[in-house]
Each structure stands twice: as C-alpha cells, then as structure tokens.
C-alpha cells in the first residue's frame, strides 16, 4: 500500500493544506510520496522533501503545469496513480478542480472532503452542508480522495529527508490556457489557517461599514476576515472571504461572527471552531445556538467598543 499526496504549492514552497493531507495519508498507512507539479517548482519540491513521514517527492516541472490547469495536470496524476493504492489531495479549489478529472480518467469514484479515516478503504465525510456525516467504503482499486484540512493536524514541516525524483511530463493538452488572476491582497493571515477569524454578515450594511468595523478588530487580534455568502453577494467583501458550505471551511481557535444570523450554509463552514462568539442584535438568530459567548447588541456600538477593549 502506498499513498500519493498531491501538493498544493506556489512553486516556491508547499502550502499548509498539503501538511494536513500528509497527516490523513499517514492514517491510511504505507509509504507516503508527494507529487509537486508546476513550473520552476524546485523550491516547492525541496520544502516537500522536508515534511516528516514522506519518503519520496516526485517533481513534474514543465510549462504546461504552470497554474495547475486541470486538463494538463489530470493526465499526469492519473498516469502516476497506477503505482499507488490511494491518491490524496487537499480540498482546495485548485485540487477540487482536477481531482474528479483524475478519478474519471481512472474510472474510479472520488471521495470528497473526508474528515476521518476509518480504514484503508473506509472514510467519513459530511453531506447536507455538514448536517449529516456518512461512512463511505470504496471498492475501487485506487482511492481518489480530497481531504478537509481542518479535520487533520498539520504534519511537521521539518524533520523529513525524502528523495526527490523527476518524472516525465505528460503533453500539453491544448484545451485551455491561463489568462490572469485577480488575487485579494492582504497582510492578514490566510483564512483557513488563521488562529482567529472575524466574520461579517449582511447586517454590516455596506462595503464601507464591513471594512470600517471589521478591519481594526481583525488587525488588533491578528485575525483573518471572513464573510457570509449574503455579505459577499452584496459586494461587501470579495468571494475568497466566503465561509460556508460552498466557500471555505475554517476551524480557528476563535471565531467571532458579527451581524450574521447563522444560516445552515454558513454554519457548515465554521461550526468546528473551538470558541465561537456571536454579536447580533436579534436574540433569536440561530448563530446563538452554536456560540459559546453571545452578545445581543448593536454591532455598530459593540464592535468599536470591543476593538478598544482588547
């Protein structure tokens, strides 16, 4: 038995989600290899080689793997998968884009966003926005799996000394090309990795108030900023702030929900947070049913006061 972990990386280094996935791989058992596919990705390969528990790093360094286009990456992963019992990748938008394509090329099912490993062929995953958990047993010869990062600790980034081996690239598929990216620039911690998340909902009322209220608090706490779908749809915050069933899943030590009601779809993305604080003027808001500390108050007075007090 051996597990191939697909690295999420930016060519210079691997991202934390990769480390959570290595931990999930360790629970399956067997050798763990990491694939780094990219362009000029030696830096990422070197960081992957240091991850504790990893015995080999495969590097596919070619122009067609730049920006991880699914049409180019999937045939590579499918080709390499023949030598493994499991292929795991973090459940990031990058990997969610190409992993089902890999599974279909292999004619196997994909098991999406596992939150626990019960055995080498049996896994637990959430369905219905996390309102139901289910055990999934796979009868396929190769298990293709995406891993929810918040459900597994990060493997130590140092301590390993894996061999780094180049693999032959698959050809450019000629179906798609990258044009550009518009990334949200922020000095704050990355949302899915932050220790504290300050999140805002529709009650913030405008783009200006969303930023005016939440940013000073987030800056003081060293927190990331999240948002509900309603707040993103209303244009208060960019799409990558969205926490929930179809956005990001976070599980920080402290989650502060401000002016958000706590719709099922939002709870799906944050209810595993260690401590949840809710500030909302509607005392019937469902968010209070999952919060450890609830403050029924007008956010426009409570938030500045909170920012001042900490």
């Amino acid at each position: 038995m051996s597990v191939l972990v697909i690295a999420e990386h930016d060519n210079a280094s691997i991202k934390k989600a990769t480390l959570n996935t290595v931990t999930a791989a360790g629970k399956i058992g067997g050798d763990i290899h990491i694939l780094v596919a990219g362009k000029d990705c030696d830096g990422a390969a070197q960081t992957a080689a240091k991850v504790a528990g990893v015995s080999k790093v495969l590097v596919a360094d070619a122009p067609q793997y730049n920006h991880e286009l699914a049409e180019n990456i999937a045939p590579l992963v499918a080709k390499l998968a023949a030598g493994y019992s499991h292929v795991l990748a973090p459940a990031t938008t990058m990997c969610k884009n190409f992993m089902p394509r890999v599974a279909a090329l292999l004619d196997v099912a994909q098991i999406s966003e596992i939150i626990a490993v019960e055995s080498a062929d049996t896994f637990v995953r959430p369905i219905y926005a996390g309102n139901v958990l289910v055990t999934a047993k796979s009868s396929d010869p190769i298990k293709v799996i995406t891993v929810r990062g918040t459900s597994f600790d990060a493997a130590p980034a140092e301590g390993g000394s894996a061999a780094v081996e180049a693999v032959d690239p698959t050809p450019e598929a000629g179906l798609s090309s990258y044009v550009s990216q518009e990334l949200t620039k922020s000095e704050r911690p990355e949302l899915t990795a932050a220790r504290i998340v300050v999140s805002g909902g529709r009650a913030l009322g405008s783009y200006e108030e969303f930023h005016k209220q939440l940013e000073p608090l987030a800056d003081k706490l060293g927190a990331a900023i999240g948002a509900t779908r309603a707040a993103v749809d209303a244009g208060y915050a960019p799409n990558d702030y969205q926490v929930g069933q179809t956005g990001k899943v976070v599980a920080p030590e402290l989650y502060i929900g401000i002016g958000l009601s706590g719709a099922i779809q939002h709870l799906a993305g944050m209810k595993d947070s260690k401590v949840i604080v809710a500030i909302n003027k509607d005392e019937e808001a469902p968010i209070f049913q999952v919060s450890d500390y609830g403050l029924v108050a007008d956010l426009f007075t409570a938030v500045p006061e909170l920012t001042k007090a900490i």
Binding site: M94, A104, A109, E113, V179, L183, T246, Y293
Partner: protein, 249 residues
C-alpha cells in the same frame, strides 16, 4: 450553439436535514424538494445565452425518480426548450451521472454542458470535472463570469485566493458558482407553457451505461451537537470571558 444543462432534484436548501435514527440514510421522506440552487444558476445562464443570440437550443436533463420531471419542468419554465429524464431508482453517484451525461452528449451533440459546481445534498463537487475527463473536453469550473466567443470561452473562476481567468476551447463543460447570475422567478404563463414542451423519458440501459455505485454509504449520523453557551451582557464581560475563561485572546 446547442446547450445541455443538467439539473438535480435535491432537498430544498432551507431544510435542516437530520439522519434517520437507524442510520440508514438522511431523514428526508417528507422534505420539500427543489432544483439544486447551483443548477438553477446554470439554467439561467443558458437562457441568457439564448436570449443574447449565442445559443440556439437548451436541453435540460435530470436523472432519478419520476418526480425529477418536476425539476425539468421548472427548467423549461425558466426557458429550456425541451427535457430528457433518465429515469432510474438506482442510487446515482457522480461517476455514473457523468457517464450518463457523456452518452447524452453523444446523442445530442451540444457545444457545451452547463451544470452546478456541486449539489447541496451530497456536496461532492465532481460531476462536471468527471464529464469533461470522459469527453476529453476542456472544463471551466466554479464560474462567476462566462463570455462565449467563437470556438472558445473566457471564464472567470472563483478560486481560494480570489478570481482566475482562463481561456478554454469549446466544446466544454462549465460548472457554475452562485455569483454568476441571479436566476429569474418563474412566471405562471411560463409554467403553463412548460407543460407543453417535449420531455423524453429514457432508462440508463437505453444508453448502455452502467450506473452501479462504487461507494457504499452507511452509518448516516448527526455530527456531534454543539451546545449553546452563555449570553454575556456587556462587551467588558465578553472580553473578560475570552481572556480568562476561554483563554483565546
């Protein structure tokens, strides 16, 4: 160009689903059913392409029980021209759905297949990508903007860091995110009109597709329930609790 749009009948997004006490499945026997919200966005986008003169025909497809006809009728009331129901009582998993769609693509020869990026019941987020692989087509996933050109499309995709723009060749599979558009309300005259639009019913076996599930699901259960905590009266009390009780700041 001709468009194929896949629509799934799911438990309505407002329903708070729980598992059955014997663990054999979700408890949804009497739940309100609706079109998967992501698929509604897909239909809306297809209708807008037709209204803009870029699409000529829209075929709405659903799979599952006879009741999925309702979902197809809704799609037709929104503007799809005709429907296909692949009727089966089998439990359909994404790979099987992708294989059925591939067979329908061979039959219908569309230039693009549109579908939601995920269904809100199984939360898989797989079918579109799998279909693209089976067809050897390009894929545009998690779309928040679509511009269809001559033999190609420019797609803006919602990714973890923000937005990514790609150019993809047509034919392609397009999976849509919620911010691509706002689906229209269906008007009563259009519901009446939709009843007269053609709806073909076929079986997976007619298409020669094996839809056997690859994953066995068991032990459906509710996640550990989070207990509601306390209400604090003031900001000062909140800060005190966070510092001294929870010790998180």
């Amino acid at each position: 160009m001709k468009l194929l749009v896949a629509v799934k009948r799911v438990v309505d997004y407002n329903v708070n689903v729980r598992s059955k006490s014997d663990g054999t499945g979700p408890d949804i026997a009497n739940a309100k059913m609706s079109m998967n919200p992501f698929d509604e966005v897909a239909i809306e986008e297809a209708v807008r392409l037709k209204e803009a003169g870029k699409a000529t025909e829209i075929v709405a497809v659903s799979m599952g029980l006879k009741a999925c006809e309702e979902t197809i009728r809704t799609a037709m009331a929104m503007g799809a021209d005709r429907g296909i129901l692949v009727e089966t009582d089998a439990q359909l998993q994404p790979l099987a759905v992708a294989k059925v769609l591939k067979a329908l693509v061979a039959k219908e020869q569309p230039q693009a297949v549109l579908l939601g990026k995920q269904a809100i019941d199984d939360d898989c987020n797989q079918t579109g990508q799998m279909l693209a692989a089976l067809l050897g087509w390009a894929q545009g996933t998690f779309l928040s903007k679509l511009e269809v050109g001559d033999g190609k499309a420019i797609v803006i995709r919602e990714v973890d860091g923000g937005l990514e723009t790609d150019e993809i060749k047509l034919p392609a599979v397009l999976t849509v995110d919620l911010r691509l558009n706002e689906p229209r309300f269906v008007k009563l005259p259009n519901i009446m009109k939709a009843k007269k639009k053609p709806l073909e019913v076929i079986k997976p076996a007619d298409l020669g597709v094996d839809v056997d599930p690859r994953l066995a699901y068991s032990n459906f259960r509710d996640p550990p329930k989070r207990q509601a905590g306390i209400k604090v009266k003031t900001v000062a009390e909140l800060v005190e609790k966070l510092k001294n009780e929870a010790k998180v700041i």
